[in-house]
């Protein structure tokens, strides 16, 4: 697969990643891989009730999340962006708490994290990115503006909101990076039965939006595409579409059974090379890292996942009063009276 850059979106001046950065990318991917597989195990062990694995999408998620400037950009995720969250340095206990069923949106602070609350409606937050991005234009039109990056998948690309978002963004020249992870599957439905024309990136032309289709299993290619898209947006040139071609190696969620819609042989053939292993071989071949480094990265990943496991196991249920207190900034009398009744009648006095 080749990356097809759109000329307007290429940031030619950007320096190549340093060896230190390449090693950091690998460390992040290893941490994400281990946390992802650990989370599936935790679900099987009853530690968390459910999880949506991103196995196989580490390069797409880490590579794109690594390009975010957390001082001014904002990311709008779905429910399968754990790798982006980790690459952006989120509080991962706060992130994983959504899968512990602690709080739908997660317990991390989205404002400080520059990472919107976890979102269960596919394509639900794509329009939010456009509004937020237009707000940056209104607030500081002439400065290197903050960029919104919104994540969605091949399945979500069927939603009408994606069309509305791309059209609005192009009309308003909003600084939005539409980052599609085309992972081949929307639960049980393959891309060929989902995406007419076979490519979400191809649709961008209709809106006059430059698009990049990138090998989503090549972390460096993903990073460079995202970086150039950010530069394009930051300079006031309007939105960019990136379609990262990858593969959902695992189930849609821990409740899913891919055996009902694809064979193991198909998985093996379609998934291609493991992005983590592929990056490892590249770093070895280029002399950027050695086996000791990879062993160390794995050890750190395991330690980190263990800390996160303990963190989420320590999470008790939220106080029931939060059900009522967080609905409004200014609670209504009716809601306050319901809270009072709940407290008294459920022996929470």
């Amino acid at each position: 697969m080749t990356t097809k850059p759109a000329l307007a979106a290429v940031d030619d001046d950007a320096a190549p990643l340093s060896n230190q950065q390449l090693r950091e990318l690998y460390t992040l991917m290893a941490a994400v891989r281990h946390l992802d597989t650990s989370a599936v195990a935790w679900q099987r062990q009853g530690i968390i009730p459910g999880y949506a694995p991103e196995l196989g999408q580490e390069a797409a998620q880490v590579g794109s999340g690594y390009a975010v400037d957390r001082s001014r950009d904002f990311v709008f995720p779905t429910y399968r962006e754990m790798g982006v969250a980790r690459a952006m340095g989120l509080d991962m206990v706060g992130y994983m708490s959504t899968h512990k069923a602690t709080w739908h949106g997660g317990m991390y602070n989205p404002v400080e994290s520059r990472f919107a609350p976890i979102q269960a409606v596919v394509a639900g937050s794509v329009l939010h990115a456009v509004g937020w991005a237009h707000g940056q234009t209104l607030a500081a039109p002439d400065e290197g503006t903050g960029v919104a990056m919104t994540y969605f998948g091949d399945g979500a690309s069927s939603q009408g909101d994606v069309h509305e978002a791309m059209n609005f963004a192009a009309v308003m020249k909003a600084p939005v990076v539409f980052f599609i992870q085309n992972n081949g599957w929307a639960i049980s439905v393959p891309t060929e039965r989902q995406v007419a024309g076979g490519s979400v990136a191809a649709r961008a032309a209709g809106y006059g939006i430059p698009a990049l289709q990138v090998d989503g299993n090549d972390v460096v290619a993903v990073y460079e595409a995202t970086r150039s898209a950010f530069a394009h947006c930051r300079n006031g040139n309007g939105p960019v579409v990136i379609e990262a071609m990858t593969y959902r190696r695992g189930p849609h969620s821990t409740a899913d059974d891919p055996g009902r819609y694809r064979t193991l042989e198909e998985e093996r053939l379609d998934a291609g090379e493991d992005p983590l292993e592929r990056f490892k071989q590249r770093l070895l071949a280029d002399g950027v890292a050695d086996e000791a480094f990879f062993a160390d990265a794995q050890r750190k990943a395991e330690e980190e996942a263990e800390v996160i496991r303990m963190g989420i196991q320590d999470l008790g249920p939220r106080p029931g009063a939060e059900m009522f207190n967080l609905v409004f900034q200014e609670p209504t009398p009716a809601l306050q009276s319901q809270a009072t009744a709940w407290r008294e009648e459920s022996e929470h006095v």
Binding site: S125, L127, H128, V130, G131, H134, F168, L326, Q329
Partner: protein, 352 residues
């Protein structure tokens, strides 16, 4: 139908600061002032900019405040409301418009799943100070989907607040109030009342006060005092109920008209206060009967006044039919006769 009844009680003196304005003018003025007072407010929607909106509620605002503050969007309601979420997350106070009530349906996903929930989902870190203006209700012989009554739908959604003014004075003050709240408010404008004039006290209102300027902006309003029966209404039905009260007065029936104004939260105390006095109530709305807000109002009255109620609370409403074409509109919207029949049923009710 002629509209000869003065809506505001005649207690407001002709003083400086009081002007005769149509509701359209009052809303326009409120938006003008909100834009001037808060640089973070932005107004947008279909044809809101250069045209000034199909009802001219945003007339002249783009020319005065600039294209960054008042702008046209592409023709997509989900986009308008979804964009509002992002603008609110970026620290703005969006005042979007959906051009007609029925066009809120394409945006329901963003309204229900996003606007209403983001404060909750984000644990209060991303409030949604969005004031959604919805030209609402019937009475103008409009095409399909241009005359819906969505208050029960919106009021049922946790996280939303709903308000509907019945006269220019309340339209001005309630919009200014809603547009300074930190929570999402669905602002339902009775489009059949846009062009009716009334006195508007333009003295700046202090929120949550009972000062004589804007008055109390958080609850219901007694539009007419009476002793025998309470008519509960909102939006365009308030003026109709005031007409009914005048007619009933000729027969010696002294009717109180309670303008509910806030449909969420409903002012349960005002309902109880009024009906405790009159001991009889009829609730009037344009929306279909079944699961309409009248049921909620009736229950609140029953709960607050069961001991003294003389009769079950009556509902005079639209029917459980899709909103009909203009030719049948007058058969659908509660008219004076149907409201009088409802009053009669309550007055003639005998226990046992």
């Amino acid at each position: 139908m002629s509209e000869t009844i003065t809506e505001m009680p005649p207690v407001i003196p002709a003083a400086a600061g009081i002007q005769q304005l149509s509701m359209q003018q009052a809303l326009n003025r409120a938006l003008d002032e909100v834009l001037a007072q808060n640089p973070k407010t932005v107004i947008f929607g279909e044809d809101c900019g250069r045209l000034g909106g199909v009802f001219r509620i945003t007339d002249g605002l783009q020319a005065k405040h600039g294209e960054d503050r008042v702008f046209d969007t592409p023709l997509a309601e989900s986009g308008i409301l979804g964009m509002s979420v992002g603008l609110a997350m970026a620290g703005f106070h969006p005042i979007p418009e959906v051009q007609f009530d029925g066009f809120a349906y394409p945006a329901i996903n963003q309204i229900v799943c996003q606007i209403a929930r983001m404060n909750y989902r984000s644990r209060g870190t991303l409030p949604m100070p969005i004031t959604l203006r919805v030209p609402s209700f019937g009475g103008i012989r409009a095409p399909e989907h241009h005359g819906e009554s969505l208050e029960a739908l919106f009021a049922h959604v946790p996280g939303l607040k709903v308000v509907s003014p019945s006269n220019p004075h309340d339209a001005y003050h309630l919009l200014k109030y809603a547009a300074t709240r930190p929570d999402p408010v669905i602002f339902m404008e009775p489009k059949s009342r846009y062009w009716q004039k009334g006195p508007v006290d333009l003295t700046p209102a202090a929120a949550d006060t009972t000062a004589p300027d804007g008055g109390n902006l958080t609850g219901a309003r007694v539009a007419r005092e009476g002793r025998h029966l309470t008519l509960v209404a909102w939006g365009a039905m308030v003026s109709r109920c005031l007409q009914v009260a005048e007619l009933a007065a000729e027969d010696g029936i002294d009717i109180e008209v309670l303008d509910l104004r806030w449909l969420k939260p409903i002012d349960a105390e005002a309902l109880a206060r009024s009906v405790a006095k009159t001991r009889r109530a009829v609730v009037v709305h344009e929306a279909p009967l079944t699961s309409g807000l009248g049921a909620e109002v009736a229950q609140l009255i029953t709960q607050g006044c069961f001991d003294t109620l003389k009769a079950p609370v009556e509902r005079v409403t639209g029917f459980d039919v899709p909103y009909p074409s203009g030719d049948l509109e007058d058969e659908y919207i509660p008219n004076i006769d149907r409201i009088l029949f409802g009053i009669q049923r309550v007055l003639e009710y005998r226990r046992g």
